[in-house]
Symmetry: C2
Subunit: 179 residues, 2 copies
């Protein structure tokens, strides 16, 4: 089966990694999948990069490079990364599609007040206290996708609902069969 890239974008704490993990797990018995998590990638590929716009873009481009390499070999790659800039996401989409790999943009949407209230990693508290600078949604911009293949509202829908909507859009793009 052909490879592809499922790119989950959204605020920190919106549920990108959780959903990507759940969808990847559901599909793992049916086709080769891989999950590239923004936090892991910062450790392995982008240690030393800051959260300035150029460094964020570099990080996103590196993830996309690795994702394309895997997609080329038939892997369905889930990327969970804030990737706050629309232009950068559109650029990696263009490179992916030019290489012949479908690119599914998933907007993992939860209002800022929701993710601040969750504050799973305690980062929003630190960002509001000024202990972290350039924090997306607080002191740095997040540009929502204008035309994502699918948008899920993790504050309003159950995880199971979000997962099935993402799986459905992949089926519509012939990235998974037998549903």
């Amino acid at each position: 089966m052909r490879g592809g890239i499922v790119w989950l974008t959204g605020l920190s704490g919106a549920g990108k990694s959780t959903l990507a993990t759940a969808v990847a797990r559901e599909l793992a018995t049916r086709r080769p999948v891989e999950l590239l998590d923004g936090d892991d990638i910062r450790t392995f590929l982008s240690a030393g990069l800051s959260f300035s716009r150029p460094d964020r873009d570099t990080n996103v481009q590196r993830i996309a490079y690795v994702a394309r390499l895997l997609a080329k070999h038939g892997v369905l790659v889930f990327v969970a990364a804030i990737s706050p800039y629309r232009e950068t996401r559109d650029a990696v989409r263009a490179l992916s599609e030019a290489a012949g790999h479908p690119f599914i943009e998933v907007y993992v949407n939860a209002p800022l007040e929701t993710v601040v209230a969750r504050d799973v990693k305690g980062l929003y508290k630190k960002a509001h206290a000024g202990e972290i600078s350039s924090f997306t949604g607080v002191s740095d911009p997040y540009e929502p996708p204008l035309h994502p293949e699918v948008e899920v509202r993790t504050d309003m829908s159950s995880q199971a609902d979000c997962v099935s909507r993402i799986v459905a859009i992949m089926a519509a793009h012939a990235l998974v069969h037998g549903l």
Copy 2:
């Protein structure tokens, strides 16, 4: 067929990329292969890194991370990278083997005088003139492998001979069939 990593190490100009390309091309119809070239990787994954030891090590570790991701999905990955430090190569071998991927170290050996005479990219001339600092073999060390799976002498053997020796060692490790 299972994935694996074929790591070609040696001086700049020794013939790593040439051999990796030739071997990958020979095998491409028989199994999934990918070539990660040190120069390309510097562009896509390691722009901004210097040629200091820590930065070289970071570069090598990034290549190895991507190679393991691909090997995990059944790809035979050829890495062509100077990777001058023995300890660093041994470390990436250990990580690869721990992940269950065979690691074939290929020492692409040509004496310094040979690669200086070839000087394909004109880099040795610049290094000797002091225009490039920390240049492996000139102003930076190269530590040859002590126990590579295979050593090829590109100054003494034909390209075809080197290619068949590398393919043979891969067959011995069950990374290619039907030879």
